[in-house]
Structure formats: C-alpha cells, structure tokens
Symmetry: C2
Subunit: 199 residues, 2 copies
C-alpha cells in the first residue's frame, strides 16, 4: 500500500524538479497540503503561465516573455558595439550585478559538448554568425566558464569572429580578488602569470 492515488501522482510530479527525489517530494507534498495550499495554487498558476509565455529572446537567446529582452531593447547598449557571450542567463545576471558592463549579450544556453550531441547549432552559433554579418558589433567578449568545454566553446567562437573580422577577447583568468596565493590552484596561478599586465 502507498498513499492515495492522487497524492502519489503529486509526489511523482514533484520529482521532475532537479535535485528532488522521492523523499523530498513527499516532504514537499505534505508541506503544501498541510501548510501552504495557497502557495501551491499560486505555484501551479505561475508554472502554467511561465511555460506558456516564456521563450527565448529573438536576439540574445536569454529567457523572456517579450519578443526582445530588456537588455536587447536598450538603444545605448546596441550603440556600444560590445557583445558579451555567456553560457547561461544566470551569467548575465552576475555580470549585470557588477554594473561595469554596458554592452549587449548573447546567451549560448549551454556549451559545445559533442559527446552530448550539443554542436554549434544547438548553442545558436548560426544566429550569432547572422548577427556578425549584419554588422554593428566591434568587439566580442568571450565570458564562457573556464572549464574544458567552456574554453573549447570560446576557442570555436573566436575562430568564427576571425572569419567575420570581428575582434574577440577572452575575460581574464587569475587570482580572485580577496583570494590568497597559497590557496590558489596551480592552473589558475599559471593563468595569472601569463595574463600579467604592465603597471
């Protein structure tokens, strides 16, 4: 015997959330039923709404419910001629929070990973090429993650940039501000040395 059929189905449905197994789903279901039915109804409506209306921005591929996202609609950002390429919308948020970058973005929604069947087309590189051809971009800043896949993706896009005569740069990798040298891994230190700047 298990819980009532409907309750089992709810628990099953909750396991579609990442990092939520059967036990957590049970806990969530009981919590919602017992203490927060209104929250659950709100969540239900919001999930429905979001899945129906949120899609990719036509221009930068981030998630938005409009045709173009807020950043792509900004005329000053378009005039900057800067295009920052990141892996995910969360990366856009992180960069925006620094308040130091005033250009546009292109969100790959992943990275090249041939083993998982993610090729250039899956991360929107044909759209990126169309944008290069349309002109208006002076410099591409490659801000993919400093992982093996992220580096490979950056390298691939740098070649695309070269083919379209667009300048490409990679964000600096080195010792994080506030970090202590003795705790930094060798690979990062090597990057910090090779990327040193004249004072």
């Amino acid at each position: 015997m298990k819980f009532s059929p409907l309750l089992n189905e709810l628990i099953q449905a909750l396991t579609c959330l990442p990092g939520v197994g059967n036990k957590s789903a049970q806990r969530m279901a009981f919590h919602l039923l017992e203490r927060n039915r209104k929250g659950a109804i709100d969540l239900s409506n919001m999930l429905h709404n979001a899945m129906e209306h949120i899609h990719h921005c036509k221009r930068c591929r981030t998630f938005t419910e409009d045709e173009l996202c807020e950043i792509c609609r900004h005329p000053e950002r378009e005039a900057s001629g800067l295009l920052c390429i990141v892996e995910s919308p969360q990366d856009v948020l992180a960069i925006e929070q620094t308040l130091s970058y005033k250009g546009q973005y292109f969100v790959l929604m992943g990275h090249l990973s041939p083993i998982d069947g993610v090729g250039p087309e899956e991360i929107g590189l044909n759209e990126l090429e169309t944008r290069f051809s349309a002109g208006g971009i002076d410099e591409v800043i490659l801000a993919t993650n400093p992982t093996v896949e992220g580096e490979a993706t950056a390298h691939y896009i740098a070649q695309l940039c070269a083919a379209h005569n667009v300048e490409a740069s990679r964000i600096a990798h080195g010792v994080p501000v506030g970090g202590e040298l003795e705790y930094i891994d060798g690979n990062t230190l090597t990057h910090a040395f090779s990327g040193r700047r004249k004072l």
Copy 2:
C-alpha cells in the same frame, strides 16, 4: 536588473517549497524552462488537482481524495478493534510497509505543542473521543515519535483512553535491530533495559 518579470515571479513562487531558497528556485526554473516544460505543465496540473481534491479522511484524518481513506474502508481492519495513533501519514506508510499491523489508524497530523498553539483540538482529539464513545475499539497503540512532544502527546492520549475505558499501549523503545550497543545513546539504552522482556 533582474530576470524578466514573469521569470522572477516563477522563481519567487518556487520558494514556497520547503527547503528551496532563491538559488535553488532559480536552478529549478531554468531546468524546467530549458529541459522539461512538459514536466512543469504536468506538475502545474497535478498541484492544482491535488490542492482541489485532497482533504483529510473523515475518520482517520490522513490525506485522501475520497471521503474515507483506503485503510478506513477496509472491513477486516475495522473488525480488528485495534487503533494505532501516529503523527503523520508518512508514519502510516512506514508501519504499513512492515506488513505486520492489520488494524486501523488515527493520524494526528502533528503533536501537542502549546507553545505553537497546537492543542488537543488541533490534532483532532475531540474526533478521537467521539470514536472512543462510538465503541468498537479494544486497544489503542500509541506510536507517536519518541520526542519530548511525542511522549507528551502519547501521555495525554493515554489519559483520554483511561477515561473512556479503552486499553492503551505504547510501542517499545530500545536498541534498533542491527544496531550496536556501544553506539546507542544512554537514554535509548535506559529504555531498552526498563522495557526488557522475559525469555
């Protein structure tokens, strides 16, 4: 700047789940949007359905979409004259999985906790008394958790049973099967000794 308004609302709505903060909610929202829109729609429907149809069993107070839950509808269980009192529907599941108990249940949906405003009425003890008065119960097995509140609740219900001339018993507390004595806490060991049985 943050994500698009609708996406922010979805992230906010997801934090109604227990143990889900802002970062996890972000991860969940992006996972659903990017990889499992069908799962999200199913979850939305299921949440709506469950919140609409699941209520407390009229008899044992567990969660069910029917008037009486499956266990309460069982004629053999009613004939047994046994009533096991537990704190939550999960406890019912745990006991059912042992396949060794064939009586009915009464689910308190919590425990006495005056400091949180949970008194006898909130855990359905007036309904329990009505059941005692109606007769048909020979023995009450108190299976609340062996915590301070659980013990207090068991003690309170034992007094109710005495008032209604219903026999009450408490499940045994002692060394778990497969446990090693040297790792068992002193309190449990004391219980194990005081609850020893003649061989």
